[in-house]
């Protein structure tokens, strides 16, 4: 996958790039409006991460340029502007998703994967990790052809893990992903443990390996064993 990260804040850009790189992903960066405009006109990407406040111009203009060029890139807006109007106008102008800063990198990755999936596979939409196969349209999970039943939360959790395979995902990020960031109810996220335990149990019972591991008490990681 080729991803263009348009973000003027260097530290944040670096974190994003280092998180997204690897597993065959290529990241390019742009830090100014004109820099971004140039790259968009010259190259093609699978997904563009677009910050709205850029030196040199408004990020929304970049979005309209992408749409004007009739490009197929998925555009994910990342902005500190927690403004509903920005969100609405961004989505109306054809952005595929909108993520408000600050965000967890795991959330960003999951959103990027979702945007790319939606762009690339119109029709059947499959996702897999070793013996785990997911039909995203039918919302079915199969382990080596054997159908298993997951709750909505377990299903979302599994996709989240596979999108972030090999990465440590914090409990905090999982809670926000599953319950939304406006729900600020719990100060310990131990209740997530139950959901993860159930998911692992269902996967292992159906014949999959136990890929999900607890990491230092902070979070969890799904990786090849």
């Amino acid at each position: 996958m080729k991803i263009l990260v348009i973000e003027d804040e260097e530290s944040l850009r670096e974190s994003i790039v280092s998180y997204l790189k690897g597993e065959g992903n290529i990241c390019e960066v742009a830090s100014t409006y004109w820099n971004a405009m140039e790259k968009i006109n010259l190259y093609s990407y699978d997904c563009i991460l677009l910050d709205l406040t850029l030196p040199g111009g408004d990020g929304l203009k970049i979005l309209s340029e992408v749409k004007k060029l009739n490009k197929q890139e998925g555009v994910l807006i990342i902005s500190a502007r927690h403004s509903l109007d920005d969100k609405l106008s961004g989505l109306e102008m054809g952005a595929d998703d909108y993520l408000v800063k600050p965000f967890h990198l795991s959330e960003l990755k999951a959103r990027i994967m979702a945007v790319i999936r939606r762009k690339n596979f119109s029709g059947s939409n499959l996702m897999s990790f070793n013996e785990i196969n997911i039909d995203l349209l039918a919302m079915e999970v199969r382990i080596k052809e054997k159908l298993i039943t997951l709750t909505k939360k377990e299903y979302d959790l599994l996709i989240y893990f596979i999108s972030n395979q090999g990465k440590v995902i914090t409990k905090n990020a999982i809670a926000e992903h599953l319950w939304g960031d406006e729900i600020d109810v719990s100060d310990d996220f131990d209740f997530i443990y139950t959901h993860i335990k159930n998911l692992r149990k269902k996967l292992v019972e159906a014949g999959a390996k136990d890929y999900i591991r607890s990491m230092y008490g902070v979070g969890y990681k799904l990786e090849n064993v």
Binding site: V168, N172, A173, V185, V218
Partner: protein, 416 residues
């Protein structure tokens, strides 16, 4: 007491006292003057009698003219008769009635015989005069008082009307709204000065408020970027190698603190946005559906603490921003869960026009500061802004949110 009323009262009392004193002085003076005139007449009569006695050597015939009587009496007692003026009654023959009179007792000597002479005059004319003067004075007094009252009522009211209009506008002054104070035009310098000062103050207050608000807004905005960086760096840090559980626990604490700071910032930004009425996606919201969805969304959180939920949802629509409706319900639900004890319960009742959320809880009744910013119970882990935001959202749409503590339950009621 109103200023006009107070002024009126002082004015009337003073006028009344002065007029009364004037009346009394007037009365006494006139009385004195008229009595003096009567006495002079009596003395003239006395002189005439004396002259008559001296000229003719006999007493004049006792006269009884209109308004004047003269009587003679031999002084047999041998006492010297003192010359004396006094008041008495005067019998008017023609009108056959007693009138007030003034008399002079004196004496004349005739052929060695001492006679007591009484000269009486009717005072009725002078009394009539005094009465007339008194009536005129009274009428003038009443007229003056009435006109003072009327002037005070109508003229003062008109004169003060710019003051009251300015006052009304100052009362209605809302710091968050942009309307200027537009005072009534007046020729009275004091009121013009008042209007100018009120306007200057309003402008200054608005400016300070705007600056403060934009400061908060900007500070929150500016803080978001470093927070985003810290958050992403922590995420990156976690990917870099292996950590011990002790290190993990430190990282988790940092995450929690950052999470709180982010939440706090977002809440402050949201408050500013609601205050500035910058949230515009007003639409008809099916509350029955929304509350139902929220219950599902919070399902796991209810279960976590073993809470039982009782819901009675009737169809009801409300016009507001979907975004704010979400936040409002999130805050109230989260509070009901956060401040509950395990095994407790929550009642959610939606009726046409009202939503009630009541729950069992750990603490006693909350104090009446609960809707204020940063007011929270000692055990609360929240930002202390949830209820302030809820209240602000309700205020934006004219809903009324209230809190009660009844039968050991915390009860929040929103009237739409």
């Amino acid at each position: 007491m109103k200023l006009a009323q107070r002024y009126n009262r002082a004015n009337l009392i003073t006028s009344f006292i002065i007029l009364t004193i004037t009346g009394v002085i007037y009365y006494i003076a006139i009385h004195f003057i008229l009595t003096g005139k009567l006495d002079k007449d009596l003395v003239i009569e006395e002189k005439e009698i004396e002259a008559y006695v001296n000229n003719y050597g006999k007493l004049p015939s006792p006269g009884d003219f209109l308004h004047q009587k003269v009587t003679y009496q031999k002084n047999t007692s041998g006492k010297i008769i003192e010359r004396n003026f006094f008041y008495d009654d005067f019998y008017n023959e023609s009108e056959k009635e007693n009138e007030p009179g003034r008399s002079l007792i004196t004496s004349v000597d005739l052929n060695g015989q001492n006679y007591q002479v009484t000269i009486s005059k009717s005072r009725v004319e002078s009394e009539d005069l005094i009465q007339l003067i008194f009536m005129i004075t009274l009428a003038v007094t009443i007229l003056l008082l009435v006109s003072l009252l009327l002037i005070n009522r109508f003229v003062l009211q008109r004169i003060w009307s710019p003051f009251y209009s300015t006052l009304g506008m100052m009362k209605a002054f809302n710091i968050a709204q942009k309307e200027e104070i537009k005072p009534q035009v007046t020729k009275i310098d004091e009121f013009n000065e008042l209007n100018d000062s009120a306007n200057a103050m309003a402008t200054r207050v608005r400016k300070d408020y705007r600056e403060l608000k934009s400061f908060t807004d900007n500070a929150s905005h500016e803080m978001m970027t470093p927070l985003a960086i810290i958050n992403s760096k922590l995420d990156s840090l976690l990917q870099t190698g292996t950590f011990s559980v002790a290190q993990g626990s430190i990282i988790e604490d940092i995450y929690t603190a950052i999470g709180k700071l982010i939440k706090l910032n977002q809440s402050l930004l949201l408050l500013a946005k609601i205050e500035n009425n910058l949230i515009s996606d007003v639409q008809n919201i099916d509350m029955q559906q929304l509350v139902g969805d929220k219950v599902l969304q919070f399902q796991e959180l209810f279960e976590k603490d073993g809470l039982t939920l009782n819901q009675e949802l009737q169809p009801f629509e409300v016009k507001m921003s979907k975004y704010l409706a979400d936040i409002l319900l999130n805050n109230l639900f989260a509070n009901a869960i956060r401040h509950n004890h395990s095994g407790g319960n929550i009642d959610i009742i939606l009726q046409a026009g009202s939503l009630t959320i009541s729950n069992t809880g750990k603490s006693e009744e909350l104090d009446n500061q609960l809707f204020e910013r940063f007011s929270k119970s000692a055990s609360s882990e929240g930002t202390g802004l949830g209820l302030a935001i809820s209240k602000q959202i309700c205020a934006l749409y004219g809903f009324i949110i209230s809190y009660q503590f009844q039968e050991n339950r915390h009860r929040f009621l929103i009237r739409f």
